[in-house]
């Protein structure tokens, strides 16, 4: 499965001059699109990029740059539901601006459509049993 994520890579001074991104692209068959970057020799640098590729290669590539000393932050966060904590009350339904929660009319079970979710996080604090969580 091909995936794509927007990441912020922080380069500490000691590796700013190493070809980390070149290795990442060449050895892990990933493609990238640099959105923003600032790298000055012997100083800290950062790159904001969108990195895409097959899931297993992506994971291996992330492991490589992490072990090389690059600190990674995700630009995208997603909201997940902890189904064990959810009681299906539906308090989330009217606070969600993107209508990601749907109450099934017959069973009154509340479904959460991750694809509609814009990760604003309003449901997280509104959920009485605290079943909604941010994941990065």
């Amino acid at each position: 499965m091909k995936i794509s994520h927007k990441l912020v890579l922080h380069f500490p001074p000691r590796i700013v001059e190493q070809p980390v991104i070149n290795n990442l692209i060449k050895n892990y068959d990933l493609s990238f699109n640099i959105l923003k970057a600032s790298i000055i020799p012997n100083q800290e640098g950062y790159v904001v990029l969108e990195l895409s590729g097959e899931q297993d290669k992506y994971d291996a590539g992330i492991e490589y740059i992490t072990s090389a000393g690059v600190k990674i932050e995700s630009l995208s966060r997603s909201v997940l539901r902890n189904d064990e904590r959810c009681t299906g009350c539906g308090a989330c339904v009217s606070v969600c601006p993107s209508r990601s929660f749907i109450v099934e009319p017959q069973t009154r079970l509340v479904s959460f459509d991750n694809n509609r979710c814009v990760a604003c996080g309003l449901c997280i604090k509104a959920c009485p049993p605290r079943a909604m969580e941010f994941h990065f």
Binding site: R85, T87, G88, C89, G90, A91, C92, V93, S94, V95, V103, P105, T107, R108, L109, V110, K125, A126, P128, P129, R130
Partner: protein, 399 residues
């Protein structure tokens, strides 16, 4: 046609009792007719699962060596304040209790992520809870400090005792103001943008027996996943409210005080919950069996969401100022449709009470009855009803 509780219990023991949930009975009576349904069906099961703030539990810890007198001292469970006004080894915790270091609403809206309801959930889940206590020391109880883990399995008694649960109908909360409100009825957006309600409607125990003809002191119930009992009317119990022609109250009316052994309950049905900007509390699962003793009692259980009206109340002014104004009445059928019209404007609805879990309780209770695991009880005393001179009082402040 008239049945007695003894006759129904005999059928339950033989596995011959016919049980229907409060949802199913509506269809059965429609298909077979009222009298036939009343003859055939022995028990209708109900259910509700929602935040019920007037809930709590008491424990006997067993005596420490050397002994410590908690009564009159101070105690916390996982940092949450417990009440120490009883004897040396007895402790009570309320669902709304908070840790001393919780910031409350210092930065609004406070999150209230952990409180008494969560402590009760953790105990029921079998997790260790930290008890820290201090006392003044006496000749017979010399100890002054205690810091230990406790577990529900090691307590002598652990009893859920809720002074007010299972409200018969409740307010629908809206907000007419220009600012967001954070209430015990959830987040209310400005200018009537949403409405929150909190009742299982047609499945709710007391809405299926509006005059409490079968529910009284001693009624055995599903409580928190185990077996419990009605011990009294709940606080604020008020049968003297306006009712529809079918007898169903159009306002919050009767309530139940319930009790049960916490050790046989489970965290699926006792869940610590947090109301943003308001506090921590406990969601409680309750199911009440209604014996179909007559056509009249069957008729009450046929109530459906479209027959039950709830009052729409403005939580920006009317509620906090204790004004009596009700903006409108709306049926649970309309509330469950996702929106209803208020002064010509569509208002989006959401529920704080879990209907899917309420249905699960009604089905569970039905299975217990079918398996002969649960027998009905004859109440030892009815709860106060219409004409019993119940007057809902307000606090008159004086000096």
């Amino acid at each position: 046609m008239a049945k007695t509780i003894e006759e129904i219990n005999e059928k339950i023991k033989q596995g011959k009792a016919v049980i229907a949930t409060a949802e199913e009975i509506i269809g059965i009576a429609r298909d077979k007719g009222m009298s036939c349904a009343a003859r055939e069906v022995d028990v209708v099961t109900t259910g509700t699962f929602g935040p019920m703030c007037s809930s709590g539990a008491y424990f006997n810890l067993g005596h420490a060596k050397p002994r410590i007198k908690l009564g009159g001292g101070k105690a916390t469970l996982n940092d949450v304040q417990a009440y120490t006004g009883y004897a040396a080894a007895d402790l009570l915790i309320g669902a709304n209790a908070l840790p001393d270091d919780d910031p409350r609403n210092r930065v609004r809206p406070g999150e209230f992520n952990y409180g008494g309801g969560h402590v009760i959930e953790e105990l029921v889940a079998g997790r260790d809870v930290r008890l820290v206590a201090s006392a003044y020391g006496t000749d017979c109880y010399p100890r002054k400090n205690l810091d230990t883990l406790i577990n529900i399995n090691d307590l002598n008694e652990a009893v859920l005792f809720n002074p007010r649960n299972a409200y018969q109908n409740y307010n629908v909360a809206v907000n007419s103001s220009e600012k967001m409100l954070y209430t015990y009825m959830g987040i209310l957006k400005p200018r009537f943008a949403n409405a929150n309600y909190c009742s299982a409607g047609q499945l709710s125990p007391l809405l299926n027996d509006p005059y409490l003809k079968t529910i009284g002191i001693g009624t055995r119930i599903f409580l928190g996943g185990g077996i419990g009992y009605v011990v009294w009317n709940g606080t604020q119990h008020n049968p003297e409210v306006t009712r529809s022609d079918n007898g169903v109250p159009k306002r919050g009316a009767s309530t139940l005080a319930v009790i049960g052994d916490l050790k046989q309950m489970c965290p699926r049905w006792l869940r610590g919950v947090s109301m943003l900007g308001y506090g921590a509390t406990l969601a409680v699962g309750i199911g009440v069996p209604i014996p179909i003793l007559s056509d009249e009692i069957l008729n009450y259980t046929l109530v459906s969401d479209s027959d039950i009206l709830a009052p729409v109340v403005d939580y920006s002014s009317t509620f906090p100022q204790r004004e009596p104004e009700v903006l409108a009445e709306v049926s649970y059928a309309d509330l469950k449709s996702g929106s209803f019209k208020l002064n010509g404007k569509d208002v989006a609805t959401a529920s704080l009470s879990s209907y899917s879990r309420a249905a699960e309780i009604a089905v569970t209770l039905k299975e217990w009855l079918q398996q002969g695991k649960f027998l009905l009880t004859q109440p030892v005393k009815p709860l106060p009803s219409i004409g019993d001179s119940i007057v809902s009082k307000v606090l008159n402040e004086r000096s």
